[in-house]
Subunit: 171 residues, 2 copies
């Protein structure tokens, strides 16, 4: 990886979210940054997820997800939910949460949340783009400011995933 | 629209970009916020665009786009490129720019830029998700901070596009 390339991609501004997923008796939640609004009518959020992520199976099988928006002072929550459920099997016990319509976890202390039903999934390189229709949601802390992904440093270890140069293979 | 719903969606943190498109002798550039990284290998950016936008035709026909990242002090540029080329036919004359690999405009004063080749396009409600492979890019102002979409207020008039309530039609 190249420090310049990592610094460039950090200029794509994103927030930090805890994505809740569930299927039958299982639930999981994980930290993600790649969330944006894709459509107004219907209201769709787009989420990029690595299908090798353990939580993807629950998202795909369950067909719904929740997005809990983290506030500027919740970096510790972002870190905790960045760990896999295998490494931290009790991470759902360490926070207060309730279930969305699909049984998916919503963090009680989040700045706000969105409850989404999966409408489509598309291949996108080593990730998948999941489109979820927003069926519910609320701003829980109106005065709160969202945590910026750029302010998490390399908490997620993604810097190592960038190439050493931007290969212009298509030139 | 509901002020609460608008305020909630403003907590999805995004940046502000000038998207450059071109086809044959035509080029255009427009302000957008819905940009995120979707994949590491290959390096893909996802862009949500309304296909009714005049620039979509050039993006679709040209098969490439550039993303110029705006800095915190470039709100005026965001405003200028939010206007359609019909209303401001000379907007490309008002700034310094050069061409990316696909002939697409890159703003010289941007904080940084990405040059992308379209790899896929997917329907997403009233928008389309365009996946572009990053073939080139650079951080032009290493000390600069990116403009936040939440700090543009309702510059793009999007507040009027939200529903008055989040209809849970799928419950």
């Amino acid at each position: 990886m190249s420090a310049d390339i990592v610094a460039l991609f950090r200029r794509i501004t994103l927030g930090v979210y805890i994505i809740g997923v569930a299927h039958e008796t299982e639930q999981d939640a994980f930290t993600a940054a790649a969330v944006m609004q894709a459509s107004y009518d219907p209201l769709l959020l787009a989420l990029a997820i690595n299908p090798k992520h353990a939580a993807y199976r629950l998202l795909h099988a369950g067909g719904s997800f929740t997005v809990s928006v983290l506030a500027r002072n919740q970096l510790e929550l972002a870190r905790r939910f960045g760990a896999s459920v295998q490494d931290h099997p009790d991470k759902m016990l360490s926070v207060s949460w309730r279930r969305g319509h699909g049984g998916t976890p919503i963090l009680s202390d989040a700045l706000g949340f969105f409850d989404c039903s999966v409408r489509a999934e598309h291949a996108a390189g080593d990730h998948r783009i999941v489109l979820g229709q927003v069926t519910d949601g609320a701003l829980l802390v109106p005065a709160g400011l969202p945590l910026l992904y750029a302010d998490t440093g390399d908490m997620d270890g993604s810097a190592a995933l960038y190439p050493s140069r931007l290969a212009s293979t298509t030139r």
